[in-house]
Symmetry: C2
Subunit: 621 residues, 2 copies
């Protein structure tokens, strides 16, 4: 019996795909270009990937029955990773199930009450008209009314220039946009329903933004871009070098990140959506170098001993002064750095994960081109940073790509090597989680030895399945492994794992693992005694924990103690957008987290050398 | 015996003039283009016009012996209005004796301790170098050292961009310029000796500026300009109309006042003096319209019932954002307005004259194109404003001119009409005080009747001296009086007082006198019960009190109760420059002074009509 094709329509995007009967909804969504949040990796164990199937929904699966309430099931809520397509259907994806919307998931961890108290508010005002008994100035007329809410507001001269005409043309009915204690914009009539903000995570490799309705705190849209600075250097050290050695190097780096932010703003607001000038506030996080480049501050000192940044504290400036095309008076709040390479993204991770609220000891890792680690509890927090390089994000890998359609994201060995491809279809390359899987399974079979060599010919152990052994090939005189043969649509080029790819991964994992060992050592705890390990960042969300442990990226601790918290840096940026007190909290994190500088430490150097090899399961630890 | 010529050299200007034996030093200074401060009008009664005669000084005059100490006399100090030139001499003019330097004179009235505590300070810092045990960011390194002085400072992004290079190139020795709590500039090495500020009084007709060394609080130079906005309207209502009715009218008005400020800055710093970029702070005062035009804020609402301004409170902005060419980060603090036309200049007069410190009731008048009146004591202060028009400043008068060389500034009747001319030499025109004198003496002789008519032919009373009567002539069919015949050097054109000139003066004096009567009435005091009347403004400094009373500009109160306090508005602006607490004080004045709007008041209209005529000495009051 041949399988049928069914049509699945995703809302609110309105995208349609045709999929084979039996396809999981999460995969159908992937084919529609919609990435769902699956912290458990699609095992049906976390119950997070909830979608709503409209109309006549299929019966819930076993996992669904476990995780869902009866009334949820009757409303058509199902788990996207388990539910298979068996008819045409229309599926709504709640914001929190979108991959980028792990924001909300992460806030689920937050046991403390979380205010919706944005720094920026709008206030509609029907002002009294001046008369002989009320000769207040125009500005006083506005700020005195605002003062009734307890805010001593002020406005800058450019706004004073607009006020008298606006006030009279709008018949003394207008809406003030108030950012902290500054009136940053004035609009005729009642526009208080429309107050937008954008939170940005400026990563070395990826820039992500979320559009937030500041009246409700709800996310309206998400968008991401590869950081175009990558063309000037794929890690922060390369870009710092470019900034220092080229005329206008700093300006070029700043310009291209601003361009990307503007593209994100356009995508977030959309062709029929709100106007970018209705965005009145932005928050941003990034590592120290990204923060310096965003503001156009020379970053050279960050890369030279003793590795100090130019600024640390939270910084406010007019977004338009950087060329960001939103409301002319919109403020950009860049969250505070800590020290060295540890930037506001790490502060944001600390804030989002609330490590500081716990008795138990948590270690959070944000794995990106730079890896940042935070360890501690309510009494003490330590942070460090290491340069993992962009291998985890698919760069410097021969056929590396980001976790998009066509990327190998899963590798298993049955008879031969089998791969999972994002969005189904042909494999076009390999993303970070696929790379980790590939090396892990090839280490297990013995095709890669603990030093990282891909074995060839007679050196291949006998127990390696023949189909696996036959996948070994050669590229430029060095060994490589064919992960996926390919059909002629892509010129027949197979997806390879090269010896150099393995070396890149070894370098990256060595940096993270050495930082892990050093930081736990300085803090005075053995890794296995940790109460919780949190994986932040898109990569942390996707990797299989077993593979991460197999290659030694993570120490051998129980998988149940390892949790993914998604793009926690963006969560933190979003919090600072929707809650003013989070900015003070961020500054406290920045002031109080103890910074461990790895660069000059003997122990880190030693661990780094040791971690360059993969764990040998035959050796006892 | 013919009189000899002597050479007088004035220091520190280095100007030389040749004058006839017997010329008063104040007149010699006038010929050298230096205007001295003579609050008593050169009568030798106030003792303020002190100069230092170097070398072998002539013996002191009677007045000098009365006002000067023995040690002052032995140091060569003399009174410039009484001391006659009888030899070649070199004369130093102390800053306080310069006309513009009445600043310091006025501060003599100030019985309260006066801080020198400028908002802007410089701090030289030798910073610790970063090392592995001191990983502070560059900004933290600077602000933490400043924090030791109790100031929690911050700096804006543009300065952060300069900091890392500057800090390292200057070998970690640099000077921070701190304005309030903002680090506004950073300079390599120790530049803490050079901190300059400028205080500005933006009058409708005249703009004056003083350059102040903020390390000592001392004035370094003074400069003034006619307000070039005058070409768009000679009073504030005309300019408001121009701003509203012409494309870019507001921009043009703003541009030309900024141009004048820039010229003043250039003159203040001079060709060999300090650079304009060493000016780090400015303060400014002006009437409400001037304040709005300076900032480019539409002023229309000030001129339309119910006469409200756009802004009132003290306002800070970057001077360069207006186009003022001083240090790029210099702040401009514009002092607060009160209401309607009563601007920050009046706040500054109140602050400088310290009316609010007295038990007795003082009335202060700032006579300019707009007249502002303040009445009260420590318990209560009231203010009002009236449109005097620019007649007192020489405008709208046929041969009107400012109080510069060649201006008739004094008129007396002996056999005929005799005039005093500023700087000696030929009369070229007439200034405000000359106009007042002329009308006053012609009223006394009976050539002008109480309705303001210049009498002609048979209507001239018999007791008018023949030489005076023969000075009556005709211009365009209306009567005029020849005040000064003129020699052929100036084409033989005499200086005339025309019928229209008298009418202009009547309008101007009627406005001031009606405001005086209305304000005292509202306050509940009879004019003759006032303890003190203060005359502010350049014009108030020059006029003869007897003439002011004769024409009814001032009520008939004893001259000893009338004091000139010079350009008190500039004094107030200067105080706000050298003492930060004065800005708060100014805001309190602005918040608490009771504003009396004259425009709609019946009593003011009534008084204005009544005051249009001159007092008739034959009528008892």
């Amino acid at each position: 019996m041949t399988k049928k094709n069914y049509r699945v329509t995703f809302q609110p995007e309105g995208r349609e795909v045709l999929v084979l009967e039996g396809t999981a909804i999460v995969e159908a969504a992937g084919q529609a270009g919609i990435t769902l949040n699956t912290p458990c990796g699609g095992q049906g164990t976390c119950g997070k990937c909830r979608v709503i199937v409209h109309g006549d929904a299929p019966a819930p699966c076993v996992a669904g029955k476990k995780h869902l309430q009866a009334d949820e099931i009757s409303r058509g809520i199902r788990l996207a990773c388990q539910m298979r397509v068996d008819r045409d259907m229309t599926v709504s994806i709640p914001a929190e199930t979108h991959f980028f919307e792990q924001v909300i998931l992460t806030e689920g961890r937050d046991d403390l009450p979380h205010h919706h108290e944005p720094n920026l508010i709008k206030r509609f005002m029907e002002l009294a008209r001046p008369d002989e008994n009320d000769l207040k100035s125009d500005v006083d007329r506005v700020v005195d009314l605002i003062a009734e809410t307890g805010v001593e507001a002020w406005m800058d001269v450019p706004l004073m220039r607009e006020l008298p005409v606006l006030m009279r043309e709008s018949d003394f009915s207008l809406t003030a946009v108030i950012d902290g204690d500054e009136v940053v914009a004035l609009e005729a009539g009642d526009t208080s329903h429309s107050v937008l903000g954008v939170a940005l995570d400026i990563g070395s490799t990826t820039i992500a933004g979320v559009l937030v309705d500041l009246t409700t705190g709800e996310s309206m849209a998400m968008a991401g871009r590869t950081n175009p600075q990558i063309k000037y250097g794929d890690d922060v050290v390369g870009r710092i070098k470019f900034a220092g050695e080229n005329t206008d190097g700093l300006k070029k780096l700043q310009r291209c990140v601003i361009d990307a932010v503007n593209e994100i703003v356009v995508e977030l607001t959309g062709s029929k959506g709100p106007e970018p000038q209705h965005i009145y506030e932005l928050t941003a996080v990034g590592n120290t170098t990204m923060s310096h480049l965003l503001l156009g501050v020379p970053p050279q000192s960050i890369a030279q001993a003793p590795y100090v940044s130019v600024f640390r504290k939270g910084t406010d400036l007019k977004a338009h002064s950087l060329g960001i095309e939103v409301n002319h008076n919109a403020n950009l709040h860049l969250l505070p750095n800590v020290a060295g390479f540890v930037g506001s993204d790490t502060v944001a991770v600390a804030m989002a994960s609330r490590i500081d609220q716990e008795e138990g000891i948590t270690l959070a890792i944000d794995i990106g081109t730079n890896g940042e680690l935070i360890i501690g509890n309510k009494d003490r927090l330590m942070v460090c940073s290491c340069a993992a390089g962009p291998a985890f994000e698919g760069a410097r890998i021969r056929q590396g790509m980001s976790a998009a359609n066509g990327a190998v994201n899963k590798v298993v060995i049955n008879e031969g090597i089998e791969v999972g491809v994002i969005g189904g279809g042909d494999a076009r390359g390999i993303c970070g989680s696929g790379l980790l899987d590939a090396v892990a399974v090839l280490l297990d079979t013995g095709l890669i030895d603990p030093t990282g060599r891909i074995l060839t010919g007679s050196k291949i152990p006998d127990n390696v399945p023949e189909k696996v052994a036959s996948a070994v090939t050669e590229l430029d005189g060095r060994p490589a492994v064919v992960l996926a043969e390919n059909n002629e649509n892509h010129g027949g080029a197979p997806v390879l794992l090269t010896q150099k790819d393995v070396r890149e991964l070894q370098l990256a994992k060595a940096a993270i693992a050495a930082a892990f060992t050093t930081l736990t050592g300085v803090f005075g705890i053995k890794p296995e005694k940790l109460d919780l390990v949190l994986l932040a960042g898109g990569f942390g969300n996707f990797i299989r924990r077993s593979s991460a442990k197999r290659i030694g990226l993570l120490p051998n601790i129980p998988s149940k103690k390892i949790e993914s918290i998604g793009n926690a840096a963006l969560v933190g940026a979003r919090r600072a957008l929707t809650c003013r007190c989070c900015r003070e909290q961020a500054q406290l994190f920045s002031d109080n987290m103890e910074y461990v500088e790895l660069a000059g430490r003997q122990d880190f150097q030693q661990y780094y050398m040791e971690e360059m090899t993969f764990p040998d399961p035959n050796e006892s630890e």
